[in-house]
């Protein structure tokens, strides 16, 4: 991932967010990191609407997505992103405490890049995120241009 690329972290637990951010930085990831506290904030950003920060054109994004979040959960975010012909190119890494084969299957069906269960132990969690960082340092991520082609409206 190029250094101009932005890592989006959708995570309602602030402690988890801080840990993820710190561990990524420790792995040498120096990309800009943005946090979204729920699914709605994430979708508003990606679909360029609402009052919060908005996605910029022709930038690279990668999304780390929690599942259990208030307002709109991660599965619905994933579904909306992967249904949009432009946004679907964004790699989405599920990072969740939910360790359920049906959920793993569902998210892969919807098109997540990879599904990772958060380790319970603090140090293991740090180590896991560090290794996610190592992966991010060697993969290419596509630029997302222009407006989303769908509205991604939530019922």
């Amino acid at each position: 991932m190029k250094k101009e690329g932005v890592i989006l972290i959708a995570e309602d637990d602030e402690g988890h967010f801080e840990l993820i951010k710190r561990s990524l930085q420790r792995a040498g990831v120096c990309n800009e990191i943005l946090r979204f506290a729920d699914g709605r904030e994430t979708l508003d950003f990606l679909f360029v609407r609402g009052d919060g920060p908005k996605r910029e054109h022709d930038k690279e994004y990668l999304l780390l997505l929690d599942i259990r979040m208030p307002k709109i959960d991660g599965v619905e975010v994933l579904e909306k992103v992967k249904k949009d012909p432009e946004l679907k190119k964004i790699p989405v890494v599920m990072l969740t405490t939910t360790d359920d084969p049906r959920m793993i299957e569902r998210c892969h069906n919807l098109g997540c890049s990879v599904y990772i269960v958060k380790p319970v132990e603090y140090q293991d969690f740090e180590e896991a995120v560090r290794k996610i960082g190592l992966l991010l340092s060697v993969v290419e991520v596509p630029q997302i241009d222009g407006m989303p082609r769908t509205k991604g409206v939530v019922k």
Binding site: K88, I90, S113, K131, L135
Partner: protein, 159 residues
């Protein structure tokens, strides 16, 4: 990654296959690895389930896919996998020397999980695969099961 997941490598360059395998092992990836020398072989395995591994009706896989291969190229392989309602669940990591931006775009559009460029420099290539291996060796990475019965009914009809 779940211990029962099998890593499939579709790569025509035998030297690259060895390097990838060796560096995955070095990163403590303990999963079984199967190799395929062109796009046709990997499709035969996935679509017709040529008995290269023991199946019990369910399997879980992760595919490392080269783009430039004889017979069927990586783009066609990815397209066929992601069109199949069962096989589409398989995470596909593209591992290629092709560094065209348009290809990165096209492969993500088709649904690859990640796109990795093989560095021309040998040591950097080793390091990149080691990083990939470090990630795949994570206990928390979960790969879904693919139902082997009734999958790919459309694709199999093509000879």
């Amino acid at each position: 990654m779940n211990k029962d997941a099998v890593i499939l490598i579709a790569e025509d360059d035998a030297g690259h296959v060895e390097l990838v395998k060796r560096n995955l092992w070095r990163s403590c990836v303990e999963n079984d690895i199967l190799q395929f020398k062109d796009g046709q072989e990997i499709l035969d395995f996935l679509l017709k389930r040529v008995d290269k591994a023991k199946h019990d009706g369910r399997g879980c896989y992760l595919l490392l896919l080269d783009i430039r291969m004889p017979k069927v190229d990586g783009g066609e392989v990815l397209r066929r996998i992601k069109e199949d309602k069962e096989l589409r669940k398989i995470p596909v990591i593209v591992l290629t020397t092709t560094d065209k931006v348009s290809e990165v775009d096209r492969f993500y559009e088709m649904g690859c999980s990640f796109y990795m460029i093989k560095p021309a420099d040998y040591n950097k290539f080793m390091e990149a695969v080691e990083n990939l291996g470090a990630f795949l060796s994570l206990e928390g990475v979960r790969v879904p099961y693919i139902d082997e019965v009734g999958a790919c009914s459309i694709n199999c009809s093509r000879s």
